[in-house]
């Protein structure tokens, strides 16, 4: 070590090594300062978003950017492929069916996309048969009212909106310029948010709302099923005609969700007897399934079924829990006094007072069950399956129905 250091100390470069930092400093000042000064006299690279731009910012971003979704209702076949593809239920389509004569077969009461929830995955764009749903380059979602983030593509005044019927063999569809529709919908955001409804108004709205009632304008699938079944019986031997009848039971969007290229393919396969499943028409949903089943059953039996007795099945369906349960002695609810029952029920809950049951705490939910006749025993989320089993055991003396 000493041998190595000693010659270095005496090296002729001692002066050089002392002045080297000074020379380096001067050099780096010269270079560095001239570079920073040169940037001082150039145009800054950053742009002054949003108001001092030479072109709107949505035109400066790439064409395949995934911004807000847009649906061109003029070429939407109402196949609901996008609704089914959406992993987080952002798209909501309400379908109203017609008989195809007095009104179109498929109508959309509602086509809403909640872009406040949308995660811009693009899975809805891929299955769309006509390219009606697309990502735009719009992305500025600041709004005064959260509800404004739901884009309503069917204008409430124009509902129900008839679905687009794809002409056979067409491959290109006329689409309005991308972004125009969504931009117009977003313009409505500038309006001040609607005032909160008063309690009286909410009560009024609740009265008006027809929860669960079938739409008056809607189609009665059972009646139509019987009609089609009668027709099908007439043309039983004529496969092409039978196919036409079967196709009428389908949604007619040619979405291809069934695995066949279009509605013709699926209905033809059924008519030829190659296909026995009636569940494949996704846009038609339960209605199409019911109609197809009616037709197939009548083809087999040769008899068109009469109108079902709607009241026959009802009493059993009213209390499915009671129907499925196997009673094991009278439940505690009938043997104990209310005070004792209250204690037992409270014991059965998780006791976290989480409020998930929509009561303020466990005490509230217990009182609801014991004193106020609350029938719903499934609400204790933290207690889970355990609490559920206990509550059913206590109140009804049965096992809980499977979820």
């Amino acid at each position: 070590m000493a041998e190595q250091l000693a010659p270095q100390r005496q090296a002729p470069g001692a002066f050089d090594s002392y002045t080297k930092p000074v020379r380096d400093t001067a050099k780096s000042f010269w270079e560095g300062m001239s570079i920073t000064l040169s940037y001082m006299f150039r145009k800054p690279m950053t742009t002054q978003y949003p108001d001092r731009m030479s072109v709107p910012v949505s035109q400066t971003i790439p064409a395949r950017y995934r911004g807000f979704l847009e649906v061109d209702m003029d070429i939407c076949t109402a196949c609901q492929a996008c609704e089914r593809a959406c992993p987080i239920a952002v798209i909501n389509i309400d379908i109203v069916k017609g008989d195809g004569k007095s009104r179109p077969k498929l109508n959309m009461e509602r086509f809403d996309i909640d872009i406040g929830k949308c995660m811009y995955c693009g899975l809805c764009v891929e299955p769309c048969p006509t390219g009606a749903i697309q990502h735009t380059r719009e992305f500025e979602g600041a709004t005064m009212n959260f509800n404004n983030l739901t884009l309503r593509f069917v204008p409430p005044a124009a509902a129900p909106w008839p679905a687009y019927k794809v002409p056979k063999g067409s491959e290109a569809f006329p689409r309005r310029p991308l972004g125009e529709i969504t931009r117009n919908l977003m313009h409505a955001w500038d309006a001040p948010p609607p005032p909160f409804p008063t309690d009286a108004e909410i009560a009024e709205l609740d009265k008006k709302a027809d929860h669960g009632k079938p739409k008056v304008a809607g189609l009665d699938p059972a009646a139509m099923g019987r009609q089609l079944a009668a027709k099908a019986l007439e043309v039983k031997a004529d496969k092409p005609k039978l196919q036409k009848v079967l196709e009428e039971a389908m949604a007619g969007t040619d979405c291809g969700d069934c695995g066949y290229p279009d509605c013709f393919g699926y209905s033809d396969a059924i008519a030829q007897g190659k296909e026995s499943s009636t569940e494949k028409c996704a846009p038609g949903g339960a209605d199409s399934k019911a109609m197809l089943e009616t037709i197939l059953v009548s083809l087999k039996t040769g008899v068109v079924p009469g109108p079902a007795q709607p009241d026959a099945a009802k009493p059993e369906a009213a209390s499915p829990a009671a129907a499925e349960a196997k009673p094991s002695g009278p439940p505690l609810a009938q043997t104990l006094s209310k005070e004792e029952l209250y204690k037992v029920v409270l014991e059965a809950m998780a006791g976290t007072d989480c409020g998930d049951c929509e009561y303020p705490d466990c005490d509230g939910y217990t009182k609801g069950i014991v004193y106020e006749g609350q029938k719903d025993l499934d609400r204790c989320a933290p207690g889970g399956e355990d609490s559920r089993a206990k509550l059913y055991e206590i109140m009804l003396g049965t096992k809980p129905p499977p979820k």
Binding site: T36, L37, R42
Partner: protein, 409 residues
């Protein structure tokens, strides 16, 4: 200042020596002048805070604050109002009294310097005969404020920052003081106005180009002033990446704004001192101080304004250089900072003082040597500035860009 007040009293028909209200006039004038000076300091510091952000932004190819007022100029007003309205927090564990009083020590040490900083030919609060000595003494008060704030915050970051700052300021006082001795030696006076008057309006009459040692002394002074003002690359006391914010970590609201007012106000002080000591201060080219004194009437006012403008222009150039340095250089390490001070600046400043002593004897014996040296150094300085400007233009052109200072404001 006193002479000016006496002449006012005499004009009003009283004898200042016997008039009973003389002392009250003095007191009122002191109040008015200190109000004006402190406001000048506060407002320039505020404007510098805006200017620094715009300069920093352009050097980083950004735009910077440009929304409040024309070009964002009123940004500093908005910031000042915000800071004044914010809650003034005092940590529970802090030494309450010292914590509250520390910013005022900073402010006092800072504001006192303005007493003998010249602004123009006649505009100076007090032209002391020990001006430079006074400035060096008073700036030391800032160290007291920094140590006080660091200690009383009872936070390790604050204390680290304060200790670093003390070490730094005490170390760099020595080269700064020695470097300032060189113009003092050349002028033969400690008075700031006296030093300016001993120089001239033309560059070759400035002390910076007087001899090689004076040029080096200017560089030493500038580096030391950066270090004393805690400016990058010597911002170790408030190194964000290491110490959160250094000695002012625990401060908020108005007290915090005092620290920053002092930091930005210090930029004016170090730059004004540089132009006073080395760059001829307010001297108008072609107008000797004796001529200037003799001027009367409108011409005198015009010359006074011109001298004020010249001084402000020179000072603002240095302020810009200080900002420019901040956005060019990274922070140096503590050991590098100490190395630089004790191994390079201190020996060089001492050697410079010796050299200037000898040089003055030589020039006294043969004045033409002094003239040749001054002209030669001025030419070298002009050449350096030109080469630097060309280099900067080359940097712009090499990237295919063009000179553009006016767009995207």
């Amino acid at each position: 200042m006193q002479a000016f007040l006496d002449s006012l009293i005499r004009n009003a028909g009283h004898d200042p020596a016997t008039w009973p209200w003389t002392q009250f006039v003095y007191l009122a004038a002191m109040g008015a002048v200190s109000f004006a000076v402190i406001n000048f300091a506060a407002i320039t510091a505020g404007i510098f805070s805006w200017a620094e952000r715009r300069v920093a932004a352009r050097m980083q190819s950004r735009v910077g604050p440009n929304r409040v007022g024309p070009g964002g100029f009123l940004q500093w007003v908005a910031d000042a109002v915000k800071l004044l309205l914010k809650e003034d927090l005092v940590p529970d564990e802090a030494d309450q009294f010292l914590f509250r009083i520390a910013p005022y020590f900073m402010m006092v040490g800072f504001a006192c310097v303005f007493v003998c900083l010249p602004f123009s030919h006649r505009l100076i609060v007090a032209d002391m005969n020990v001006g430079i000595f006074y400035i060096l003494a008073v700036t030391a008060l800032i160290v007291v404020g920094i140590i006080m704030s660091g200690w009383s915050s009872n936070s390790k970051w604050s204390l680290f920052g304060a200790i670093r700052s003390a070490a730094q300021i005490i170390s760099y006082e020595i080269p700064a003081g020695m470097a300032l001795m060189i113009p003092v030696m050349l002028a033969g006076t400690l008075s700031t106005q006296g030093i300016i008057r001993a120089q001239g309006g033309w560059p070759w009459q400035w002390y910076v180009f007087n001899n090689p040692a004076a040029l080096v002394a200017f560089l030493i002074y500038f580096i030391s002033a950066l270090a004393e003002g805690n400016r990058t690359p010597f911002d170790l006391p408030e190194a964000e990446s290491e110490l959160v914010s250094g000695y002012n970590t625990e401060y908020s609201g108005m007290r915090f704004s005092y620290f920053f007012l002092v930091e930005w106000g210090n930029m004016w002080i170090m730059s004004a001192l540089a132009s006073t000591m080395f760059f001829g201060g307010w001297q108008i080219p072609g107008l000797s101080p004796e001529h200037f004194d003799a001027l009367t009437g409108g011409v005198a006012v015009l010359a006074e304004v011109a001298s004020l403008a010249i001084f402000a222009f020179k000072t603002l150039i240095f302020v810009f250089i200080v900002m420019w340095l901040r956005w060019t250089l990274p922070r140096i390490r503590v050991d590098q900072m100490m190395n630089m001070c004790w191994k390079y600046l201190v020996p060089a400043s001492f050697a410079g003082v010796l050299f200037v002593g000898v040089w003055m004897l030589i020039v006294h014996a043969a004045p033409w040597i002094g003239l040749v040296m001054r002209l030669g150094l001025t030419a070298a300085g002009a050449l350096g500035v030109t080469l630097f400007a060309l280099r900067t233009l080359k940097n712009i052109r090499d990237t295919g860009d063009k000179f553009d200072f006016t767009s995207n404001w």
